[in-house]
């Protein structure tokens, strides 16, 4: 038996107390006056045998109870040696080094490099090491197999060189993903090479609060993989970050709103904002751990950079703000030209007002057929049928409205001769309503939310019956009598959206309902190719590219370099730097801003509880890397004692003995029955 607190065994000396008291009872202290001692001689007390045994039994009970209490306080446990981590296996360590933007502070990166060099140097010859760099994604710098392939003397220098070339970037931090990547790397390596031995994921990071851990699922963590945390902490605590807030209205000269967030644990709270191009500074007071929204003057016409002063770390003090520019869209309208409330164009124009983010041009010029983002035909395609078909085949969307007189021939031309279009029967004044609407179609995406998917208030009075549609046609909406209302027909790369009922007042109420505008905008967006408006882009996020047919597309990065996305590419992903990017599409240039993720400015270190939770996740045994042997032995003993908790049984037993002693003493102290005692 071993003891966690052997000093308490000194309390066993208390057992002497009942023994001393027992022995002192041999000599009674009670003094009685007596008339004369002339007939007496001294006699030692003579206890009868039964009394002696009873007294010894009580003494034994008392001594035992005291001894058990003393032993319980000493916290005994049965020692067994700690589980030996298989020496026969290979120790694998996946080192995760943080290359997020927050590692640009002070000298965090050089210290991280130094730490990794120490780890590499401390690796035993048979061990396998891998180094992964992570910000919002993890990438392998040196894999386990690379390590094994490198000569032992070159490993350290290779890792150093690769990491130096890498350096901290501008990404945000996803710790959960990084840890999972580290564990996966170990498991993959074990599958390939010999398994067994210690497994460790070592995290070298500044452990900022803004680092996300949500993707780390504790129950899915592989058992036996230890997590060791090497915190590289900054000395200066004050840091504030900027975030642009969305703009309402289209006035480019309007003031902009910006949120300043001051990280917790800092000491400073007074900050200054000014545009890099010049202008009056704006003062702000933001206590640590809080944020404030501040108004700043409008940026220069072409966009600018807002600079924050007053904190210790400048890496997140620049906010790129692009000029307001509306996305430009073109709609080719084929139909009547009069702007007549009884017609269709009237409502079409009013469905696309000019906004800060979108400017829609509706024209009837055929020459713009391929450049248009959406083709709308209410009066038949006529001579433009060829051009329209060609545009659709190249990927555009054609909205074909069958309004009775026209459209049937066009539909047959596009869908095939078998399609028949007939005028629907006249109905009572209550009309039709749309009963089934398939909101999963991209064109109907605005109605995906059930709150907006109620079409029963929209009345239709006239519609055309379409039948014998080809197989690739898909009915996305039906009237309440089951006949198709809206049909989609893929043609080439594009789509033909057929409406069997027009929106002019004679046919239906839809143009007057709240569904009309989102429907048309949905059709416009579904066709694709419309530039994204003012958006918040975070470093690493892809940016949607406009589809253009005239000339090449180029993107100029903040450092001046240009990239030419591949033809047909729909997004640009090389947004690794924060700043203003320029999208050059031949004639026009548009800027958009890429900034650091706001979470990256939360530089206060993770709370201790979360770090402990991480460590506990991978706890395997007593020996963690770097823990001195003495501490490890103590903690192993504490673990054993905590499992066994023998002290509880000892105290329980002592309690039982105390109760037994009390009962026995009470019974013995009762006066003896007559004739029982001498």
């Amino acid at each position: 038996m071993s003891f966690l607190h052997p000093l308490f065994l000194a309390a066993l000396a208390a057992v002497a107390v009942p023994i001393v008291l027992h022995l002192s009872r041999q000599r009674p202290r009670r003094e009685l006056p007596f008339s004369s001692l002339m007939f007496l001689s001294p006699t030692a007390p003579r206890f009868d045998r039964r009394r002696r045994v009873q007294d010894r039994l009580l003494l034994a009970l008392r001594c035992l109870a005291l001894a058990l209490v003393a032993l319980a306080f000493a916290r005994p446990f049965l020692y067994r040696p700690p589980p030996v981590i298989a020496a026969a296996g290979i120790a694998r360590t996946a080192v995760l080094v943080d290359v997020s933007a927050s590692m640009r502070r002070e000298d965090l990166w050089p210290r991280a490099l130094e730490r990794i060099q120490t780890l590499v140097a401390a690796a035993a010859p048979g061990d396998r090491l891998a180094v992964l760099a992570f910000d919002r994604r993890a990438q392998t710098v040196v894999g386990f197999s690379d390590w094994a392939a490198l000569p032992a003397g070159d490993r350290a220098s290779t890792i150093a060189a690769r990491l130096a070339a890498l350096g901290p970037g501008w990404g945000s931090t996803d710790l959960g993903r990084a840890l999972t990547a580290g564990a996966d790397a170990i498991l993959d390596d074990e599958a390939d090479a010999r398994s067994g031995g210690a497994r460790r994921v070592m995290l070298v990071s500044d452990l900022q609060e803004g680092g996300r851990l949500e993707s780390l699922v504790p129950s899915a963590w592989p058992p036996g993989i230890e997590i060791v945390v090497e915190a590289i902490l900054a000395k200066k605590p004050t840091n504030a970050g900027l975030q642009a807030l969305s703009v309402h209205g289209a006035d480019p000269a309007a003031a902009r709103r910006v949120r300043i967030t001051n990280a917790a644990g800092g000491s400073g709270e007074r900050f200054t904002l000014r545009w890099e191009s010049g202008g009056p500074p704006v003062e702000a007071v933001v206590p640590p751990g809080t944020s404030r929204v501040v108004e700043v003057p409008a940026p220069p016409a072409t966009g600018g950079t807002l600079v924050l002063e007053g904190d210790d770390h400048p890496f997140d003090n620049r906010l790129a703000v692009a000029a307001l520019s509306a996305a430009h869209a073109r709609i080719l309208y084929l139909g009547e030209e009069a702007d007549d409330p009884q017609g269709s164009l009237y409502y079409l124009r009013r469905a696309f007002p000019r906004t800060a983010t979108r400017e829609v041009e509706i024209s009837a010029a055929l020459t713009g057929a391929t450049a248009a983002h959406l083709l709308v035909a209410t009066g038949g395609l006529g001579g433009a049928a060829q051009a329209a078909r060609a545009a659709v085949e190249r990927g555009r969307t054609l909205l074909l409205v069958l309004d009775g007189r026209t459209g049937a021939a066009d539909l047959r031309a596009i869908a095939g001769a078998a399609v028949s279009v007939t005028e629907g029967a006249a109905v009572d004044p209550s009309g039709f309503v749309l009963a089934e609407v398939d909101t999963s179609h991209p064109a109907l995406a605005p109605f995906a939310d059930p709150r907006f998917a109620d079409f029963t208030k929209v009345r239709f009075w006239k519609r055309r019956q379409v039948s014998a549609l080809p197989d690739k046609a898909h009915v996305v909406a039906r009237f309440d009598d089951g006949s198709p209302a809206w049909i989609t027909l893929p043609v080439g790369k594009g789509l033909v959206f057929v409406m069997t009922s027009g929106w002019h007042p004679a046919d239906s109420q839809i143009a007057l309902s709240s569904k009309f505008v989102p429907l048309l905008h949905g059709l416009l967006d579904a066709g694709g190719g419309v530039e994204a408006g003012q958006i918040q882009v975070v470093t690493g996020d892809p940016v949607a590219l406009p589809t253009i047919d005239d000339g090449a597309l180029r993107v100029r990065k903040p450092d001046g370099t240009t990239r030419a996305p591949a033809a047909g590419a729909t997004s640009f992903g090389d947004t690794d730097q924060p700043g203003l990017y320029t999208l050059e599409t031949g004639a026009r240039a548009r800027t958009f801003a890429v900034n650091l993720a706001a979470a990256e400015s939360a530089t206060a270190p993770l709370p201790v509880e979360r770090l402990e939770a991480l460590r506990r996740l991978g706890a395997t045994g007593p020996r963690s890397a770097g823990e001195p042997a003495a501490t490890a032995a103590r903690s192993w003993k504490a673990t054993l004692e905590g499992e066994q908790k023998l002290w509880r049984f000892l105290l329980l037993l002592a309690l039982a003995l105390a109760v037994a002693e009390t009962l026995l003493a009470a019974r013995l102290s009762r006066p003896a029955a007559p004739g029982g005692s001498p």
Partner: protein, 303 residues
């Protein structure tokens, strides 16, 4: 036992001793005694010859000492005390051993009450009563009188608690013998817990001097039987000496020694014609007195 006593009209000793006034206690006991008594055996039993005086014509010839006339050829008349006058000397042990008691009252209180009762009775019938208190010597002496107020002085003297040192009877008895000139009744009230040797000689001398000696040995039931519970350190009341005694193991030898002592006293008293009454402090005083009187009556009749 107590119920029987109560039924017999006897006063329980412990209950009696709770009465604070010794005079009242004595009167209570007297009532009890007189209820059981028809005739006082103390009445007129003693004729006290005091002196010779020359015969003068007219004296009652009955009182002429013819023996003396025959011897000396002179006429003398014996002079006598009143026949009904008794001279009683109460000799009370007030040593500290008499302060022992296990029943709520001490031997000393018991003996004093007994003495007070006798004094009340005798004074009541016109006899003279005196008191000698002793421990290792005479500490108090009230000559035998029967004057007004004398009984009160007797009560006062009897109420003083035991204070003497050791019990040593030789010297006090010797002093008593010297003090008591006139022949009378000597009542010795003591526990007699002292070596028998010299005590016997003094008692004998007293008897030889013509006194009628009555020895009332007052003992406590616990000291009689050593009926103590559990071992204890016993402290001698007179000497202060302590001794660790286990009653269970010492009882046998103690009772044997005690009984031997009592027997020796009895034999010695018998040898000298002395009335010996061992009394226990748990016995009702009136019962004890009646017993003493009864034996005395029978003894007087035998004479």
């Amino acid at each position: 036992m107590q119920a029987d006593r109560a039924a017999a009209g006897l006063v329980d000793a412990s209950a009696l001793m709770r009465v604070r006034s010794i005079e009242l206690r004595a009167k209570l006991v007297m009532e009890g005694v007189q209820r059981g008594l028809h005739r006082s055996p103390f009445h007129g039993f003693s004729v006290e010859f005091t002196e010779y005086r020359p015969y003068t014509p007219g004296d009652d010839v009955r009182f002429v000492d013819w023996r003396l006339l025959a011897r000396t050829d002179r006429n003398y008349v014996r002079k006598y005390e009143d026949e009904t006058n008794l001279r009683c000397h109460l000799v009370l042990d007030v040593s500290r051993s008499m302060a022992y008691g296990s029943l709520g009252h001490t031997k000393g209180q018991y003996a004093a009450t007994l003495a007070a009762t006798l004094a009340t009775f005798l004074c009541g019938q016109g006899d003279a009563v005196g008191l000698l208190c002793f421990s290792d010597r005479i500490t108090d002496h009230l000559p035998a009188r029967n004057r007004p107020g004398h009984l009160r002085r007797l009560y006062a003297a009897l109420e003083r608690p035991p204070h003497g040192a050791a019990t040593a009877l030789e010297r006090p008895l010797l002093e008593a013998l010297d003090t008591i000139r006139r022949r009378g009744l000597v009542v010795l009230l003591s526990d007699l817990l002292a070596p028998i040797g010299e005590m016997e000689r003094r008692l004998g001398a007293m008897a030889a001097a013509g006194h009628e000696v009555l020895v009332l040995q007052v003992l406590d039931p616990v000291e009689r039987r050593l009926s103590l519970e559990g071992p204890a350190m016993l402290r001698d009341l007179e000497s202060g000496r302590t001794m660790l005694v286990d009653p269970a193991s010492a009882r046998g030898a103690y009772t044997r020694a005690f009984d031997a002592h009592l027997e020796a006293i009895r034999v010695a008293c018998q040898r000298w014609g002395i009335d010996h009454h061992p009394l226990s402090t748990d016995e009702p005083l009136d019962q004890a007195l009646l017993r003493i009187i009864d034996r005395r009556t029978r003894r007087v009749r035998r004479r």
